[in-house]
Point group: C2
Chain length 233, copies 2
DNA sequence: CAGTGGTCTAGACCACTAT
DNA sequence: TAGTGGTCTAGACCACTGT
């Protein structure tokens, strides 16, 4: 019995996945090298490379030069989260988006904020508080500090019509950042804004973005009880 | 002034990113096609393709055949989460991992569970409850249903020494799954296990995995107050 | 030192889709 | 229908790393 040639890298990827899944190649096993697989599959080595590279990126394979390619012992699940602009997130659910700016002021941030943003401890920063709505119900509270040394244009923006969430993406590019997810109990202000009980379990997203070595903004998004962040695995 | 050729796809990617960041190419702009960029950079089109494809995967570019490549108007941040085995997660923090099986029983799951796992509503499933520890402190509670129609070997595994979290990865491959993050208030049992107050805000991860059309397992991981899930952006 | 993956090249064909 | 990205190929050279 001869097998038909696998024509594209997706087919090769699927066949390799199938063999791993069928335990033909077991966790920890060394699999044939690219040249041999290319010969077996009847395609170019570059095609096999693309397939195996993709599988390595998802954590199913471990690849090392000279050592070869092994089936991962404990495949680390990789979940890719899309973090869209909140307006798009709401509209994507088929709901009507609403926005209210609650506060815009200049203040010296807490030491924890200036510390993590690497700004002088005594310097004032632009501080914003806003509410995002979905079908007129509270969707998320946004609390934000903006480093106007990095984004001077923000000084002239009132953020009355457009949220900082959206304005910054178009006006303040970032090179990298950190994001953290956690749970927190609602304080009185948050409970009032989100129409929930004080102490209710809120879903919290903290994000800090950088433009090279300069911090851009630090934001906390607070979601009402029941909010879920979902993704495929 | 002539520019030196860009030798590899990472250099091309960096140069394209630089131009976008410098607003030489603005959000919404059409950028030159692959052939022209290859000529400008002095490299093969495949090299440009690899660079632009990578940037499109991160959401910075929108690419469509015939329509060309545009700078994304609202770059959707893509965060890749690594979801390792809990033992590795703990050990990676330099802490000592501990594990306690709290319960292992057969039961008919709630309709919500059998419904989402697409199993007969009246069929018993293997149910597990376990506690993961870091330096002898509670790290996470694991509540799990296992579809033994898909993973019959689980019937003979006591899960006393090894957690289902870890055993399943080695013995029950999955093809795809869903994961959801949320916040929940601690009930009495959870509060006792995690040494926190009833009603405290807990971080919750719900995961459901599939082997093609057959569900494998549905698990809820519950983390004590203060737990954060972090990643780079 | 030798084997493996990582990448580049030049050319080709194809798939999709805006016009 | 024509322009663009998506991919494959065959061959080459290189980088890394186990032995």
């Amino acid at each position: 019995m001869t097998k038909p040639a696998l024509r594209d890298w997706q087919s090769v990827r699927d066949e390799v996945r199938r063999r791993i899944h069928a335990r033909q190649w077991k966790p920890g096993d060394l699999i044939p090298n690219e040249t041999d697989l290319a010969a077996e599959f009847g395609c170019a080595r570059a095609t096999v490379n693309r397939a195996l590279r993709t599988l390595a990126e998802t954590g199913l394979l471990d690849r090392r030069r000279k050592a070869g390619t092994r089936v991962a012992l404990q495949p680390v699940a990789k979940a890719t989260l899309d973090i869209p602009v909140i307006r798009h997130e709401v509209e994507g659910r088929g709901q009507t988006y609403g926005y209210q700016r609650l506060a815009r002021d200049w203040a010296v941030p807490p030491a924890q904020v200036s510390g993590s943003m690497r700004t002088p401890a005594s310097r004032q920063m632009l501080h914003l508080c806003a509410l995002h709505l979905a079908d007129d119900l509270p969707y998320a509270v946004e609390q934000r500090w903006i480093n106007t040394a990095t984004v001077p244009a923000a000084e002239r923006e009132p953020f009355l019509q457009i949220s900082a969430n959206e304005w910054l993406l178009a006006h303040a590019p970032y090179t990298h950042g950190d994001i953290a997810f956690s749970a927190a109990a609602a304080d009185e202000a948050e409970a009032a804004l989100l129409s929930c009980a004080v102490g209710a379990a809120l879903f919290v997203v903290d994000r800090l973005t950088w433009d090279n070595a300069a911090s851009v903004t630090k934001v906390r998004l607070i979601f009402p009880p029941g909010h879920q962040l979902r993704t495929a695995l």
